[in-house]
């Protein structure tokens, strides 16, 4: 009798818990980057709202972290097997998460609403070599070269009709900027390891072309290739002209935006097209002043180059699901909420940044429509190469990436190494860490 009574109590307890769970639903934990980017946050909260409306009783707790702190925390949580969220921000900074099995297979989401290249970007070998799409790329960003139209006008710099300077024209433009006391590039490398990589990478692309750049990044092409040497030497000439500000090393990414559009101390700004996420916010939140005249260039074209008209594009901010969480199906449904053309339109309209989600351009309603039109006009003939500067890390060994950052984000722009010394270091690293 006693065990029957116990069984009955346990059954009633389970029923009560189950009913309560069904009644109150699940609270999904969602961690994201973009704490200070209001336009992007707007879209995330819209997704949250739509998910909660479609899944009554279930709620989403959205927390924002700086990604530099979030990724080590995620790494520790996944290793420990607990403390990780259901859905999390993901990008190419931590490519090792995929083969580690820390991202769930997202084959079931509505990929028909997502750009094929976005799906292809995150379809990689996972645990045990399994191929699957592991994340949904919400943010797509190309590496761009913005410029200050007013400064160019004042300094007598004329932008060619195709938006791309030749080697000599680029050098001339930089010379005019630096002679007038401006920096050519508003680059700050204090808190990021890639801002100094943009210009040399752009020059490498127009010289080598996309395929050879990929071979170079993967270590299949020597850094002593004459074309690479030519690019590095030309780049060092630009540095010697004072292309970078002396505050570069102590300037953060956020400060470099202000340096460009508010303080207007630099003529150009090489940065991802996610520039708009920080620039098109109210001025008091760090946005660019309304009167700032923003222009967009194509990459300067190296003489006899194979890559004229090419630009880097990659996928940045994405979202993934923790496969060992208690609510995988619901978490996948949350990510699936992004896979909607309306969300794609909302993202583009609000942020001005490309997206991996399909969009219906005529239906995009945006206060920055002028920018979207300018972007499409400058890039109408662009041949996109699906590898962005920040994504080089996906294709380089860690040791190689460290040397690449050390030489190109710190060494060369600060004149700490010559072009030839930089090439020696990169080639030595390529051979050592093959």
């Amino acid at each position: 009798m006693r065990w029957k009574a116990r069984g009955l109590v346990m059954a009633m307890f389970a029923l009560i818990v189950g009913l309560n769970t069904a009644a109150y639903g699940v609270e999904l934990q969602w961690w994201s980057h973009w704490a200070i980017e209001d336009n992007k946050k707007f879209v995330l909260f819209e997704v949250k709202k739509r998910f909660e409306a479609k899944n009554p009783g279930n709620t989403v707790n959205l927390t924002f972290y700086e990604k530099a702190n979030m990724f080590p925390t995620l790494r520790a949580a996944f290793t420990a097997g607990s403390g990780f969220p259901d859905v999390f921000y993901y990008e190419a900074d931590v490519p090792e998460f995929i083969p580690a099995g820390w991202l769930a297979d997202l084959s079931s989401i509505r990929w028909e609403n997502v750009e094929p290249s976005a799906k292809a970007f995150w379809t990689r070998p996972g645990p045990g070599g399994k191929m699957a799409p592991w994340a949904l790329a919400v943010e797509s960003a190309s590496d761009e070269l913005y410029y200050n139209k007013k400064l160019f006008r004042q300094l007598g710099v004329t932008v060619p009709a195709n938006g791309a300077f030749t080697q000599d024209q680029f050098k001339d433009a930089i010379g005019k900027c630096t002679k007038a006391g401006y920096a050519a590039f508003a680059t700050g490398t204090s808190d990021r390891e890639y801002p100094g990589l943009y210009i040399p990478s752009m020059l490498l692309l127009t010289k080598l072309g996309g395929e050879d750049v990929k071979r170079l990044v993967k270590g299949e092409l020597s850094w002593k290739d004459p074309r690479v040497v030519e690019v590095f030497r030309y780049y060092r000439e630009l540095v010697d002209m004072g292309a970078y500000s002396k505050v570069m090393t102590s300037m953060t990414l956020a400060e470099s935006h202000r340096y460009f559009h508010t303080e207007q101390k630099a003529c150009m700004f090489p940065v991802g097209s996610w520039y708009t996420g920080r620039a098109f916010v109210p001025v008091e939140k760090g946005g660019q002043p309304k009167e700032f005249e923003l222009g967009l260039l194509n990459y300067p074209v190296m003489n006899n180059g194979k890559g004229a008209g090419q630009k880097y594009i990659g996928y940045g901010g994405s979202f993934a699901v923790a496969p060992k969480g208690p609510n995988v199906a619901l978490a996948t449904a949350l990510v699936n909420t992004f896979a909607d053309v309306e969300i794609g339109n909302l993202w583009t309209g609000k942020t001005g940044i490309q997206t991996g989600i399909k969009t219906d351009v005529p239906k995009i309603d945006s206060p920055i429509k002028w920018y979207i039109e300018m972007f499409h006009q400058v890039n109408q003939n662009t041949k996109w190469q699906d590898i962005a500067v920040q994504n080089f890390k996906l294709n380089m060994k860690s040791e190689m990436w460290e040397v690449w950052v050390s030489v190109l984000n710190q060494g060369l722009p600060n004149k700490l190494v010559s072009a030839d010394e930089a090439i020696e270091k990169l080639e030595a690293a390529r051979l050592k860490f093959k």
């Binding site: 996944f78 490519p95 090792e96 490398t189 204090s190 505050v247 090393t249 102590s250 040791e399 700490l416």
Partner: protein, 321 residues
């Protein structure tokens, strides 16, 4: 009264005649000791001892985070690789050692000078004592951000002062050059910790009996002689302890570098601690064994050098006054 005087005494019963009297030792209250020390010891073991032991264990393995913490024993492979072919480790070790040697050489004389000034009752001594001590109360991230602004090339205070006094040609991007970046960081820690050393030394100076100093004065010793021949020798144990603490602290330097330079430019400020963190948490490899081996090697080096420094600097005889 001792046993001898008790022998043959009428006051004691016969069995006690000729016997040694022993006072029973009080019993230790082990239960109470365990109750009070237990929680602290558990905490100490869980958060200090256990991680150290696990780090030692991990250093002999490849520890794959992605395979559910799979251990693969590799013996001394990591240690051999670090010591024979890891150029970054040796660069970081050089930077850390430079910091640990140079910083005390600047901190101690400066702290001693400030302590003497306060001891000599300079005007507004209490105010200056507070001002000089305050930097220690700030956390490394706050200090790092402040000094990033100080070293800013355009509007940082360092270059503004140089330009104001006509030395604008010496204005530098202090954190952009490996030659100046490490000294710039050493200056920051000097700013942070000199006040702490000053307070300890000031307290130590106050414990020196005035008679010694007065006697020296009576004997005709001037202020410099009193300082260098009386006070400083009497402060030696305190100075040695501070030097050793300073040395160990700089050998473990991490937070300031992480905030200000992240080891750049071109590893110019890379310390062993920052290198360990990068290898453990920022590289694509998910192996914790290699960075654990770096941590073990550095632990042994710090322990050995600290022990040697202590033996070298400390006197065998203690000074008492």
């Amino acid at each position: 009264m001792d046993a001898n005087t008790l022998r043959g005494s009428d006051a004691l019963p016969t069995p006690f005649v000729g016997a040694e009297i022993r006072t029973p030792r009080p019993r230790r209250p082990w239960g109470s000791i365990a109750m009070f020390l237990g929680p602290a010891l558990c905490f100490y073991f869980a958060f200090i001892i256990y991680p150290v032991l696990v780090t030692f264990y991990n250093s002999f393995h490849i520890l794959r985070q992605d395979l559910g913490l799979t251990y693969q024993f590799v013996g001394l492979q990591h240690f051999i690789e670090i010591l024979t072919s890891d150029e970054v480790f040796w660069r970081a070790a050089r930077n850390s050692l430079t910091w640990a040697v140079v910083a005390p050489c600047i901190d101690m004389p400066l702290a001693l000078t400030l302590a003497f000034l306060l001891h000599a009752k300079l005007p507004l001594a209490k105010f200056f004592r507070t001002v000089w001590f305050t930097p220690l109360l700030m956390s490394y991230p706050v200090v790092g951000v402040i000094w990033l602004w100080v070293y800013n090339y355009d509007w940082g205070m360092a270059n503004l002062v140089l330009r104001a006094i006509g030395l604008g040609s010496y204005a530098e991007a202090w954190l952009a050059n490996p030659t100046t970046a490490l000294p710039a960081l050493i200056l920051v820690t000097t700013w942070m910790f000199t006040g702490f050393h000053m307070v300890i030394l000031l307290t130590a100076i106050h414990t020196i009996p005035q008679e010694y100093i007065e006697a020296a004065w009576v004997d005709g010793a001037g202020p410099w002689s009193r300082a260098f021949r009386i006070i400083i020798p009497l402060l030696r144990p305190t100075i040695v302890n501070l030097i050793i603490l300073d040395f160990i602290g700089k050998m473990k330097q991490f937070a300031l570098v992480w905030v200000m330079t992240r080891g750049g430019p071109m590893r110019g400020t890379e310390t062993v601690a920052t290198y360990v963190i990068k290898r453990a948490f920022e590289w694509k490899t998910l192996d914790l064994g290699y960075p654990s081996a770096i941590a073990v090697i550095w632990f042994v080096i710090i322990f050995g050098l600290s022990f040697g420094l202590t033996r070298f600097l400390q006197r065998k005889e203690a000074l008492e006054f």
